[in-house]
């Protein structure tokens, strides 16, 4: 198709679509269109990528107002979120510059809900080591069980694109396919994209083995499955946290605690890869029956009644000096050296 013909065609489609949408949406309440915003429907937790989130609006945050940058009154649309990023509204593209009304499934704790982009906002520094990319309207946050904290709450949430919907996408016949409005160059940085991608914020190294970095964080191997990369990203969140017996037990695994012990830290990583429910809380001995027996291709847990540690893509995740003084560790985190596994039961996640 020549450029001129394409332009005429595009203009024709545009005119027709505009006319159609005007007539369709102009029917107001007379048609069966979905109610604006609708009720927020809660669902079990989804998967997706961990990102840093904040909340806004509500009685403790009068400065945000109630009109989103899309023009929508957010009081009428409680299922709203804002895309953040940068220091100006022009650069609020932390998720690749999603079009307005892009749905995302947002998971916090053991709940999830679909929300739609109706706003943009300023960004800020990382949250628990995760990039700050999304601001949740306070009513949405409340439905997810997120504490209000006068609009000052921040923490990690999981975000993911809902699967393709509508006959054209489900049957694979849409011209652009789902999510095609996001240019390929930015889609790769889109934490909400459906296609498996490296978890946000985790460094990637080539090959199949994780690499310990000078700052104590780990780089995930490019060849590893997404779950392994997510596990490493979750580990990086709590590297260096002080060891405390019972630390972070009783907290949802989506939270980042101030202290950890061996089992709570291992469980935080397993949750990060979507291998445990957010409410899972067990001592090390329970992990003797986790997953499948024996070493895994990517991940192996070594558990007994007193301790648990694990290897993820060749790096040991363990507590401070658990393998004896001077084992290379400075706290809970990644350790460069292997240690004896005598007296431990080896287990691995199915498929990993």
């Amino acid at each position: 198709m020549s450029a001129s013909v394409a332009a005429v065609f595009a203009a024709g489609v545009g005119v027709a679509v505009l006319g159609l949408l005007t007539s369709v949406f102009g029917q107001g309440d007379q048609c069966d269109a979905p109610a604006p915003g609708g009720g927020i429907v809660l669902a079990p937790p989804g998967t997706g990528q961990l990102v840093g989130a904040t909340e806004y609006g509500g009685p403790g945050d009068s400065s945000s107002g109630v009109i989103g940058s899309s023009g929508a009154n957010l009081l009428d649309f409680p299922d709203s979120y804002a895309e953040l990023g940068g220091e100006t509204f022009e650069t609020a593209t932390a998720m690749g510059g999603l079009p307005y009304l892009t749905p995302l499934r947002i998971t916090w704790g053991n709940r999830s809900a679909i929300a739609y982009k109706r706003d943009i906002g300023l960004g800020g520094g990382p949250i628990d080591g995760l990039p700050r990319v999304i601001d949740l309207w306070w009513e949405l946050a409340g439905r997810l069980g997120i504490p209000y904290h006068e609009g000052l709450w921040s923490g990690p949430v999981r975000i993911e694109r809902p699967p393709p919907a509508g006959a054209g996408d489900l049957l694979g016949q849409s011209a652009g396919g789902p999510g095609s409005l996001i240019p390929a160059s930015t889609a790769a940085q889109d934490p909400g994209a459906c296609a498996p991608a490296a978890p946000t914020g985790v460094p990637i190294t080539s090959g199949a083995r994780a690499q310990l970095l000078p700052d104590g964080l780990a780089a995930a191997p490019a060849d590893a499955p997404l779950a392994v990369q997510e596990m490493i990203a979750a580990g990086n969140q709590i590297v260096g946290k002080p060891y405390e017996v019972g630390g972070s037990h009783g907290l949802p695994l989506s939270d980042v605690g101030s202290t950890y012990d061996c089992s709570s830290s291992v469980e935080h990583l397993l949750y990060g890869a979507g291998l445990l429910p957010v409410t899972y809380d067990a001592p090390s001995g329970t992990l003797e029956s986790f997953g499948e027996p024996g070493p895994g291709r990517w991940v192996t847990l070594y558990a007994n009644a007193d301790h648990v540690f694990m290897y993820v893509a060749g790096l040991r995740w363990d507590t401070h000096n658990a393998a004896g003084p001077g084992d290379g560790s400075t706290g809970i985190g990644w350790h460069p050296l292997i240690r004896s596994a005598a007296g431990f039961v080896a287990r691995h996640p199915a498929g990993l």
Binding site: V13, A16, V17, D32, A165, G166, A167, G172
Partner: protein, 186 residues
């Protein structure tokens, strides 16, 4: 050699020559046709073939918009158990590209494990059909669709969404309209 034997040989030779002569023209013509077709293919990159038989459909509509509404309604209303057969039946109701697209959809969904495992279904209504300005027999179709699933929560809470498709119609005989093109755009 006797005269009789010589006559027999001549007769046999003539007969054989006659047989051969009677088959030569078709072979030559065939070769010539093939040579021409190849030469044409070299120039146009298209090997000429006879036109396909005229496609017939199981149903037609008296007007373009009716044909489109009926087709689109069937296209967006199905579940994992019915979708392959539904698309097969739709293929019989349309021609040209639309038929190919529906046959492809039927083949693609017949063994779609994800659709079946998730218990996925799609439902919707045709909200509007409008002619595309400047494009004869082409229309824009707006549908409002909702996707659900019985064995996954992935669609839980997802609102019905608007979708757009481009449709082309053909009048097979006076007052007998069928779909000939179907291209979902979103």
């Amino acid at each position: 050699m006797s005269v009789r034997r010589a006559s027999a040989l001549v007769l046999c030779a003539l007969t054989c020559a006659g047989c051969a002569e009677s088959h030569k023209p078709p072979r030559a013509a065939e070769r010539s046709r093939a040579a021409r077709a190849l030469a044409e293919a070299e120039a146009t990159h298209e090997y000429p073939s006879p036109p396909p038989p005229r496609q017939t459909t199981t149903t037609t509509a008296p007007a373009p918009v009716q044909a489109i509404r009926s087709f689109a309604t069937a296209y967006i209303n199905w579940n994992a158990q019915t979708v392959a057969n539904d698309m097969r039946r739709l293929a019989q109701r349309c021609v040209s590209q639309a038929r190919s697209a529906m046959q492809l959809a039927a083949a693609g969904t017949a063994g779609d494990y994800e659709l079946a495992r998730g218990g996925i279904a799609n439902h919707g209504t045709v909200e509007a059909v409008a002619p595309l300005p400047g494009r004869r027999d082409e229309y824009v179709v707006v549908t409002l669709e909702s996707t659900t699933a019985t064995n996954t929560t992935a669609y839980q809470g997802l609102l019905p969404a608007w979708h757009i498709a481009l449709a082309t119609v053909t009048e097979q005989a006076p007052g007998q309209w069928v779909l000939s093109g179907w291209q979902p755009e979103s």
